[in-house]
Subunit: 458 residues, 2 copies
């Protein structure tokens, strides 16, 4: 390893390779709270350095784990077999913003939130908004196909990636996709690489589609005594012809947790709360918000608040985005799921989850992008308590079985990575997995890139 | 071959295998006007039959060319190496329309236009609208990733495919994707197969995303003396914050051609005409149409017509959709291109094309989805005139060179197929092509599925 590290140092410079134990520890974790210490951390500055690193790694069969900001929820950034962790954070330039063609080009290390702010200053809009937008990188978003609240109207990261520059595991550089609104030349390598969780290639440049910034946004909250009513409203809303840009769901446990943390005045006695947004022209938004409020009231909301100031809306969103960190008040460890069911199955799903919570006595919190049927089920626990851990793992299996039985999927936006790999076979058949493995082999014959992810036992 | 055909007959029944020369001729052509006579035509009825046919074909290394309605523009449905043509037209059921979850499931042989009408009767909307919607099949649309006028706002076929059932060349059946709004489990086989032009697998079932039907649509035409002004308006419109659902461009030659054919009262002396649509709520549409009209007037339109009745709008669309067939008034053969450039390069591109037309004396007609920068350049000729044919082929090469130099792509929605394969290397590098070929091999190790397509010399 020493001689390999010397080669890597000669590519990026000594100071851009970390090997001290305290540095390695910093890159041993991600948002899953698991730890796997790499042999070294290398910080490339540009595509050519990435290519050179991968050539060395290929030659010596050293594992390479590309990494963004480490905010991933499924362990994609963890060096489970050691090797090199390669944060892409030095490739952090917004290369161009082309307002006329509604296209931007960025490096993978650009912080998503910073990019959003930058384009918004030019009257442009980049919709994908993972809750970690203030910290996460666009490269990580692309690798995991991140979603977020606005996906209900605007789709996920995949829907905004027009083209990529990617370094293949052997060090070859490819360009995929287009810089135009359309393009169908050859196989769709762009979308194949989006969501491939760093297992097929290292993304070094991203061409993104932008939209004009909507003129106005209206926000409302609807508070329900009964969480089933809140769940029911979702498909009523989605079927109504007005597509809100967010339909966020928070159950009582989520409300209570965040309230203790933020003291935002949330209705801690409610069964559930919905946070909805509509965007468009000023007129459209006014009409849409009234319409949404009306639907919530007609379907059992005990209280609907519209006409919030920008400040109040921001507070609601702070509360929403604080759920994930706030949950640690309930336990030092989190098992965090990301299921999706058809929208009209949400009532059945949340009732079932509530029943599971009661049956198991586990500390469970449910929230998420209800407009997409995407529910984050979190089990908070202390993993050192093996009895509780076993019960939690059993609950996860039951949850996934129920999800698949309802026609759903076990991951909507977090990816498979490490934490869902053991469950992959619950959703995919052996032939499907075999095709995917053949694709992996076509890209990465030596298997050096992000090993141990996606495929059970890989 | 006789014994193979007997095996195939035993799978689908004798009457569903055609071998008579007059039947073979009917399946020897597509919209490219090229002819390649297959050895037999087999009409499966269901997925199991498709799987059984592919197993026989694999065993005997017989080529199989899946086919929709044969409306493709790049030769994807042609049996260039003989073998079996397999129309999917008997798999033509709309399996389910789930209004609550905005999801439908269809077989590949469903006619796109029929599907649109069916969902619209339920207040739902399937946006992709290739101009051949009245005849083409959704399976063909998925295989080619078809676009259409509405792509400017709503995206292309890819953006509406949630999942697929696909028979692999060896006869194995896989299911890809999800039936939910989101899903990131494993590699994105769904989008890899969308646009793969029948070379990776045979699509037997399609899960489609639907939208609520917009309340209203407003149509307007803007007539320009100078085609450059028309081209200029496009990026002005797209940058304005109101995204129209169509921005169609027709040059003078296109207007004249259609007028002779339809006698619709088109402005045959104009340099170009734009056909625009906005959709949404009644109020939004009223505002949008005024805004679009205003922009056209400010940027050089000599005449703008708004407030058309549904009948008038339908006439404009009939005219637009008649361009492709009407062109044959100018010559018995068509070389039909499908380039895309960044929107703000459209003025430069159409001026360059006009200059090329003048320089070469070729009969050229330009129209297309200008809002996407997607321009259909058609050269009408008699291919028996070898001198003109050579000149036309040279013009195509120049056109593609210019397109790529402007940051564009040589195919926006028609695919590569047979007709663009010789030009693939103008857009893709050797490493990119090599990766695609390895993917092809991973799916189709025996190379039986739709040979001779996409890859030059394949």
């Amino acid at each position: 390893m020493t001689s390999i590290i010397r080669k890597i140092q000669s590519i990026v410079g000594r100071k851009h390779v970390a090997t001290a134990p305290e540095d390695l520890l910093c890159y041993a974790y991600d948002a899953t709270n698991r730890h796997h210490v790499p042999d070294a951390v290398v910080f490339p500055e540009n595509t050519d350095q990435v290519a050179a690193i991968l050539r060395v790694a290929s030659e010596h069969r050293v594992f390479v784990v590309p990494r963004g900001a480490g905010t991933g929820m499924s362990g994609g950034a963890l060096a489970v077999r050691g090797g090199l962790v390669m944060p892409m954070t030095r490739l952090n330039r917004i290369v161009s913003i082309d307002a006329q063609n509604l296209v931007a080009e960025v490096e993978p290390g650009v912080i998503t939130g910073r990019f959003q702010e930058t384009v918004e200053q030019q009257g442009l809009f980049y919709p994908p908004d993972p809750s970690s937008a203030a910290y996460c990188t666009i490269g990580g978003n692309v690798a995991e196909c991140a979603g977020g609240p606005r996906a209900v109207k605007y789709g996920v990261t995949r829907d905004y990636v027009l083209g990529l520059e990617v370094v293949l595991p052997c060090g070859e550089i490819i360009k995929t996709g287009v810089r135009t609104a359309k393009g169908v030349v050859g196989y769709d390598l762009t979308r194949l690489i989006v969501g491939s969780e760093g297992t097929l290639g290292v993304i070094t440049r991203i061409v993104l589609r932008l939209l004009p910034l909507p003129e106005a946004v209206g926000t409302l909250i609807a508070v329900f005594d009964d969480m089933s009513d809140a769940a029911n409203v979702v498909s009523v809303v989605m079927r109504s012809g007005i597509i809100p840009r967010t339909v966020e769901y928070m159950d009582q446990a989520a409300l209570q947790c965040v309230e203790q943390y933020l003291h935002a005045g949330l209705p801690v006695d409610a069964g559930a709360m919905l946070l909805l947004e509509a965007d468009g022209s000023v007129q459209t938004v006014t009409v849409a918000v009234e319409h949404l409020a009306d639907m919530c009231e007609k379907h059992g909301a005990r209280k609907v608040v519209t006409g919030a100031s920008e400040q109040e809306s921001a507070l609601w969103w702070d509360a929403r985005n604080a759920i994930s960190p706030a949950l640690f008040r309930l336990g030092p460890d989190k098992i965090n799921e990301d299921i999706v069911v058809p929208r009209n199955r949400i009532p059945e799903m949340v009732a079932w989850i509530d029943d599971l919570r009661k049956r198991t006595g586990l500390s469970m919190v449910t929230f998420g992008h209800a407009g997409d049927g995407n529910i984050h089920v979190n089990i908070m626990l202390d993993k050192r308590d093996k009895r509780v851990l076993a019960k939690a793992q059993q609950a996860v299996t039951l949850l996934f079985e129920k999800t698949v039985a309802l026609g759903g999927t076990i991951s909507g936006e977090h990816g498979v990575g490490l934490s869902k790999a053991p469950y992959l076979r619950m959703e995919l058949g052996p032939v499907e997995i075999d095709v995917m493995k053949r694709i992996k082999e076509a890209f990465d014959p030596n298997g050096i890139l992000n090993p141990g992810k996606i495929f059970p036992g890989a």
